[in-house]
Symmetry: C2
DNA sequence: TAGTGGTCTAGACCACTTT
DNA sequence: AAGTGGTCTAGACCACTAG
């Protein structure tokens, strides 16, 4: 197997192996030849085969274990990549005018469930911020966020009058790990009033928990009008 | 820089570079040293540096171009990985009993918007399937799907009485590329009746277009009760 | 303990894009 | 034209783990 001008060798090997998996020549759980054998078969170096197999493993097509070898992964897991852009980009990309409005910022003891999620002592005061993101004359996002003041003491000096807490956190907290939940909910009377929407409007709700250095930094509930916001993804497999 | 017992070299390099980005030593848009220079700096081979930089690029931390070099990426784009599992796994994982119910399968000319999305001639007949996925005694997913009979002629022989079209496509169409839209909608009277839900219930709607060999294979609208279904993601950056 | 994958090297050639 | 990243090789040593 020689280097084709159009496609790298490891890519070609990936495609071939993938094709064998989906065509059924390699059933789920089937053992693949070792890297050395495949290198001989494709007449290339072991590293080239290794890269192909490593990427297939990252995509979830195969599973690898030392000594045990490489096996076709159990099917059914389709990984799809979704890219969320920062809200201002999202809005301007659609040609809308963006406006930020701070509703409230206060120090207070978070309610029990939030305290648990933030992993803070019950009764301690932390920062609660509520704000709106407007696109033209409609609310595009309602952000309801708690920030752990133990982990990010600098928030005390922030008013968030001009800059939303999500942007501020992005620029000021390093390397946070994120977890998301995405769900559809019906607008409660409170939320409906806040977002200037009719009651029971369908909303897309994204709950985001950020962690830094194994400590909970922030817990945010982001709600969007269902008709204004869509997540888009371009899948791989 | 020598190989540490606990962590691969390329990982250590990744972490160091990442740390420089988030600490502000490397500002957004800043040019990083070339692979050769970094290899000298970390006293390792160029390939090791290359792997570190390649993975940072995949994670969106840096952007690379030949001759132009490696630069710190523009911030604010948070990639989040969502894994969609096949519906039967999803339901059984929650301990519910799964049941599949076919509502209707017919050959017909798709309505204009669908015809456009499927990229088929107006008036040609294609397969339309509507079915339900039950979890215990509740509808977990309503699947409304059109399949391009030109691309997948084998569908003609399928009744889909026992097996849902999404599963069948997974097993019979190779390597399809997927695009998804995710939105929140309010249950219309028709959908509400089909899904046995009150009108205006908030629904999570996933629109999935699959492509094979640059031809549109299928267009599906999957709707879930908002309270029963959540997408979960564990992010990286 | 033997065989697998994981990592690393030193060197090489090529493709691409800015200068 | 020159310098960057992208790929590949042949060989090596190591870590892990199934038999």
């Amino acid at each position: 197997m020689t280097q084709n001008a159009t496609q790298p060798l490891y890519q070609q090997i990936k495609s071939r192996l993938k094709a064998q998996v989906v065509s059924g020549k390699l059933l789920q759980g089937a053992l693949l030849p070792s890297e050395t054998e495949l290198a001989g078969h494709y007449d290339c170096s072991r590293l080239t085969v290794h890269r192909a197999l490593r990427e297939l493993a990252e995509e979830g097509v195969v599973e690898r274990r030392r000594r045990a070898g490489t096996r076709v992964a159990m099917r059914g897991n389709t990984g799809l990549m979704i890219r969320l852009s920062r809200i201002t980009d999202e809005i301007s990309r659609r040609g809308f005018a963006y406006r930020y409005e701070l509703l409230e910022t206060r120090f207070a003891a978070p309610p029990d469930p939030i305290a648990k999620l933030l992993d803070v002592r019950n009764g301690d005061a932390h920062l609660h911020v509520r704000c709106l993101h407007w696109a033209n004359n409609r609310v595009f996002q309602f952000e309801d966020r708690w920030i752990n003041a133990d982990v990010v003491p600098a928030v005390s000096a922030q008013s968030f009058e001009k800059m939303s807490p999500s942007l501020w956190l992005l620029d000021n907290v390093p390397l946070s790990e994120l977890e998301h939940d995405i769900a559809a909910i019906s607008a409660s009377p409170t939320i409906a009033a806040t977002m200037r929407l009719p009651e029971n409007t369908a909303l897309l709700e994204i709950t985001r928990r950020s962690t830094w250095n194994k400590r909970r930094v922030s817990h945010a509930r982001l709600t969007y009008p269902g008709d204004l916001f869509r997540l888009r993804s371009e899948g791989s497999n």
